[in-house]
């Protein structure tokens, strides 16, 4: 049995207010180490909300997220930030790079925040990451000097900088052209093949097919799970939504 990197148990996210709204409604999910999981679903189905809960960007109303065996529901906000810093890497639909900093400085940001490496080591790792993503010549350019695909690759390099166990990506190709989309998905696939866990939210079924597993969310619940890479015909596991 493969090692579990990320687990959601009875995960609920409810927005309280005059009219309560449930974004995530009792999701149980396990993601193995090195697995590439795609989360799909229509707009407003709760897939991004689920991703934010899995990446500890948001706190569940109920349930538990377990990251690398560590339950997180009782962690303080600072401890959650620390888990995000060291165990999760984030890639968003928009690159969200700091505009005043160069590509390299953006990549160095999480490493400097963690403060576990010397400046020289950080510089070497930053350049190595940018080089591996074909951006070595763009290390000293600011985001506004890069194309959309290049910015997103810098964002991926930033997500990888602290060697996180889990990469969480929210529609990372949503704002890219076809060739950049292909490139970015290829990189994420490669990251998973190297043993990291990748969880991606995407609207694109063709890209989702290339994941190891795909869960389809509707109304905050997992409607279907497709176990095999490339399988779109039959759900391998159908998870009955909780009441």
């Amino acid at each position: 049995m493969s090692e579990v990197a990320l687990q959601a148990v009875g995960l609920v996210r409810r927005i309280e207010g005059a009219v309560s709204h449930t974004l995530v409604n009792g999701i149980d999910l396990s993601v193995s180490k090195g697995e590439f999981l795609a989360i799909t679903g229509p707009s407003g189905s709760g897939k991004s909300s689920l991703l934010y809960l899995l990446g500890l960007l948001d706190a569940p109303s109920d349930g538990e997220v377990i990251i690398c065996g560590q339950p997180t529901s009782k962690l303080s906000e600072d401890d959650r930030a620390n888990v995000r810093l060291t165990k999760c890497g984030f890639v968003f639909q928009f690159h969200f790079l700091l505009p005043e900093f160069t590509s390299l400085e953006n990549v160095l940001l999480p490493m400097r925040a963690a403060g576990q490496m010397s400046e020289k080591e950080m510089q070497e790792r930053g350049l190595e990451l940018l080089g591996s993503l074909g951006l070595k010549d763009h290390a000293n350019k600011r985001p506004n000097q890069l194309s959309g695909g290049q910015r997103q690759r810098v964002a991926i390099a930033r997500a990888l900088s602290n060697r996180p166990e889990i990469i969480v990506a929210d529609e990372p190709t949503g704002a890219l052209d076809t060739s950049s989309t292909e490139q970015v998905f290829g990189i994420l696939r490669e990251i998973a093949d190297q043993g990291r866990t990748v969880v991606v939210v995407t609207h694109d079924p063709a890209l989702a097919e290339r994941a190891d597993r795909r869960v389809h969310i509707v109304d905050g619940k997992i409607q279907q799970t497709f176990e095999e890479r490339g399988s779109t015909e039959e759900p391998a596991v159908a998870v009955a939504p909780k009441a």
Binding site: D78, F101, L109, G115
Partner: protein, 413 residues
């Protein structure tokens, strides 16, 4: 969280907004500069005035009266709590055995002591003006008084050269049209008339002294009082005038005579200084606070513009407090640079003021404006300004960093 990173981000933010940053720095610099100038002017004029005041009067004056009525014979005799209907017995006025008292005080006093007789008189030279007549011993007076250096005509020892000689203030001399060598008449409280010669003119710089005080020999003052041999005031000059209050208490405890420090003698003036200080400090505080509003505006603008960056930094795992610190550091950078320029502006303003002279109607001379230079003004103005700047940044920074990153990320998507 590595502090280098926070400083790096803060520095990048302020250096990429040059115009805003310069406006903020200018605000701080102006506030600090003008505060230093006001403090220098205020304290300079105050110190100048106090120097004049302290120079023209004894630091401590041992007077012949007591703070409370002396125990009466009936009280002593019968040990009664209170006696009524019995007139108090007044002993002969003046300090008893003044030489012994002076020797005793001189034995420990950090300074010197001289005898004097203080009384009131009228000086008559065509017109009549009431004055305070101070009888002094010129040889001893030079140890306790700045009078020798305040002489404009004649010398203090000239009192010994003519019978009943007097030294009068310049303002009084002008009022009475008296010159050195002129004869005047002194009229004492007992109706005593004494023909006197003006042997010198002094100028202390204090109008009430220059217009209302004259000096004679002790013997002349005793004649005017009608009390031969009386000494009713011992005048003390201290090495450190600021110790006057302590010394006065010690002397009073030792001799039993009322001992008045220059601070006590001018307590009404000093309390008005305290009120003035309070008002000026309030104005200066308001100036520094107002100058920090520019910083508040800048940090508010930056935090608004940087909401997305704040969300990203938080999502990457930077703690809320660390992100908040970035903006407080930005305010500190604006504050510190502004303060450095403010110090330069403050010094330049003080120097500029010190070059201005004002015509003194009393002395008839142009005197420069007194400025007091002290690092204390610079440190206090800088410290308060830095506190105001960082305080002004704290609130917008706290508000901005409390934003949930998901809200911003969703909003941008």
């Amino acid at each position: 969280m590595a502090s280098n990173l926070l400083v790096n981000i803060a520095w990048t933010h302020v250096t990429t907004r040059v115009r805003q940053t310069l406006v903020g720095m200018a605000g701080v610099a102006m506030g600090v500069g003008f505060t230093i100038m006001m403090a220098g002017l205020m304290e300079g004029s105050q110190i100048d005035f106090l120097h004049q005041l302290v120079d023209t009067m004894p630091h401590v004056s041992i007077q012949s009266d007591r703070r409370t009525a002396a125990p009466q014979a009936a009280d002593r005799e019968y040990g009664a709590v209170q006696m009524s209907g019995i007139a108090n017995v007044n002993n002969r006025p003046g300090i008893r055995y003044p030489e012994s008292v002076m020797a005793s005080v001189r034995s420990w006093l950090p300074g010197d002591v001289a005898p004097s007789v203080k009384t009131t008189a009228i000086i008559d030279h065509g017109g009549r003006i009431g004055v305070t007549l101070v009888g002094i011993d010129p040889k001893q007076e030079i140890k306790v008084s700045k009078l020798p250096s305040q002489m404009r005509e004649g010398q203090i020892n000239d009192l010994l050269r003519a019978p009943n000689a007097v030294i009068i203030g310049q303002a009084l001399a002008e009022k009475l049209a008296v010159k050195t060598g002129n004869a005047v008449t002194l009229i004492g409280g007992q109706g005593t008339h004494v023909n006197s010669t003006v042997v010198g003119i002094f100028r202390s710089g204090l109008k009430r002294v220059d217009e209302g005080q004259i000096y004679s020999l002790i013997s002349t003052a005793q004649v005017m009082m009608g009390q031969s041999g009386i000494i009713n005031e011992l005048r003390l000059r201290l090495n450190d005038p600021l110790e006057a209050e302590t010394i006065a208490k010690q002397v009073e405890g030792q001799t039993g005579y009322k001992s008045v420090s220059w601070q006590e003698a001018n307590s009404d003036l000093l309390s008005s200084f305290a009120v003035r200080d309070f008002i000026v400090l309030t104005v200066m505080g308001a100036m520094l606070l107002t100058s920090s509003f520019a910083t508040y505006n800048i940090i508010s603008t930056i935090t608004n513009e940087k909401r997305q960056d704040i969300a990203i930094m938080k999502s990457l795992g930077m703690r809320e407090a660390a992100v908040r610190r970035i903006f407080i550091l930005e305010a500190a950078i604006i504050g510190v640079v502004g303060i450095l320029f403010g110090w330069i502006i403050g010094y330049a303003l003080c120097y500029g003021w010190s070059q201005i002279t004002i015509y003194n109607t009393l002395t008839g001379t142009n005197v420069p404006i007194s400025i007091y230079y002290t690092p204390f003004h610079y440190i206090v103005a800088g410290g308060i300004s830095l506190l105001c700047c960082t305080g002004a940044a704290f609130f917008p920074a706290r508000k901005a960093t409390r934003v949930h990153p998901v809200e911003i990320i969703r909003g941008a998507s």
